[in-house]
């Protein structure tokens, strides 16, 4: 089993024990390693032909490489902050662009998110990670973990959303008024609303989104 560890807040260290130990990581994210490592690009995200076609069609393409070997491998990407998520059979929804590295034992796939995605500028689909093992998420600035419980729904700016897990229902809400059309919008016209029971990861920065301009 690959061991994930954070070296500071911006570098992920993964210790691999050799044999069948492997991780999937964003293409080109390795910054250093010791021991023996082999890097191999996984065509279409490593989910077979069907997964590859789905990713192409949904625009959730990830350039992923498989890292195998023995030693410690260090990953980082454009000085993004990294958070570790430990999964024990749950499902994690994450933006493909925010996924840095996953244990090879985790399954990745794509799901439909509806209108939310379009306002985020990330398309209509999101990536899911499922199984037992660890995953590393990237965020622009340190991510905050917000808890959603029954009766306490959470609204998130689509540009700041990174990932969520748990039993959550998401709806898209807009506060577009006549002011928005006059060009006097507050820039907060669209939100994603999470209801149910689970966790949402938010970054202290906003991607450029369609929703952010109005």
């Amino acid at each position: 089993m690959a061991q994930f560890r954070l070296e500071g807040t911006k570098v992920l260290a993964v210790t691999l024990g050799g044999g069948s130990d492997a991780v999937k990581a964003k293409n080109g994210a390795m910054v250093a390693y010791d021991g023996q490592m082999a890097f191999k690009k996984m065509t279409g995200g490593g989910e077979g032909l069907r997964g590859m076609v789905t990713r192409r069609l949904t625009g959730e393409q990830m350039a992923v490489m498989e890292v195998k070997g023995q030693g410690t491998c260090y990953f980082a990407d454009r000085a993004s902050d990294i958070s570790l998520v430990r999964l024990n059979g749950e499902k994690l929804h994450v933006e493909a662009s925010n996924l840095l590295c996953t244990d090879a034992g985790l399954r990745t796939g794509t799901t439909f998110t509806g209108l939310r995605g379009a306002s985020q500028g990330n398309g209509l689909f999101t990536t899911t990670v499922e199984g037992a093992g660890e995953a590393a998420l990237m965020s622009d600035g340190p991510a905050v973990l917000l808890r959603v419980t029954h009766g306490m729904p959470l609204q998130v700016d689509p540009g700041a959303y990174i990932a969520h897990q748990g039993n959550l229902r998401q709806t898209f809400q807009s506060g577009v008024t006549f002011r928005t059309f006059m060009g006097e919008g507050s820039g907060e016209s669209f939100q994603i609303r999470f209801e149910g029971d689970g966790l949402v990861y938010v970054q202290p920065s906003e991607r450029n989104t369609v929703g952010g301009d109005v």
Binding site: G28, A29, M30, V31, G35, F39, A63, D77, A79
Partner: protein, 216 residues
């Protein structure tokens, strides 16, 4: 030691008569006391010969001499700053990553072709270092800039370290480096893993790696 990290992006330096510093021109953000900043036409220490050497090697970053008595704060471009203390070792670093360094350190230029011949020159090109790099030798401290945080990885004879050339910042100690390639047919058909070139550092010392693959 004259340098103290105030935050991840600022360092504070003490200057006193007889203990001068060199810093990148324009990198001072604040100071207290009586401190003078003199542009250094020669781009560092040594005489005319060193100056010409640096010009030819394109390692001539505009430097200034900081003298007087007081405390100076240095920072540049919002980059992370790492203070590296040297105890008689030689530090190899790109001139444009060097924020400030002790006047006690001896500055020099190293031709990369010397360490590995033609492959050394290729290595310099791939890692964006060019054909030359700056060396600092002696006892003292240097403040080095990097994009994102820096981690220090030890290099021992038993375990060489491989580094992505774009994430490489600096190294010190008795270290040999060579460019290792892992180019296969995948790279040729444009399906590479993005890790085709690596710097292999072996010997004993340490290497500094930044959390980003962007140059300064």
């Amino acid at each position: 030691m004259p340098f103290r990290e105030v935050s991840a992006k600022l360092v504070e330096a003490q200057v006193a008569p007889g203990a001068r510093l060199f810093s990148q021109r324009g990198a001072m953000v604040a100071y207290t006391g009586e401190v003078s900043f003199t542009p250094n036409i020669q781009g560092g220490q040594g005489g005319l010969r060193s100056m010409i050497g640096r010009r030819v090697a394109n390692e001539a970053t505009p430097l200034m001499t900081v003298e007087g008595r007081g405390t100076v704060l240095f920072g540049h471009g919002g980059h992370h700053v790492q203070v590296i203390n040297l105890d008689g070792d030689t530090l190899c670093v790109e001139a444009d990553r060097l924020l400030a360094f002790d006047g006690t350190l001896e500055q020099g230029t190293l031709f990369l072709g010397r360490d590995g011949g033609l492959m050394g020159m290729v290595r310099g090109q791939v890692s964006g270092q060019g054909l030359f790099t700056t060396t600092l030798m002696g006892k003292g401290a240097a403040a080095v800039m990097a994009h994102g945080g820096v981690i220090q990885l030890p290099i021992t004879p038993q375990s060489p370290v491989h580094v992505d050339p774009q994430a490489y910042v600096a190294h010190f100690g008795d270290v040999r480096n060579k460019l290792s390639t892992a180019l296969g047919w995948r790279e040729m058909v444009g399906r590479g893993s993005g890790e085709g070139f690596q710097l292999e550092l072996s010997g004993s010392g340490a290497v500094f790696v930044q959390a980003s693959e962007e140059k300064l």
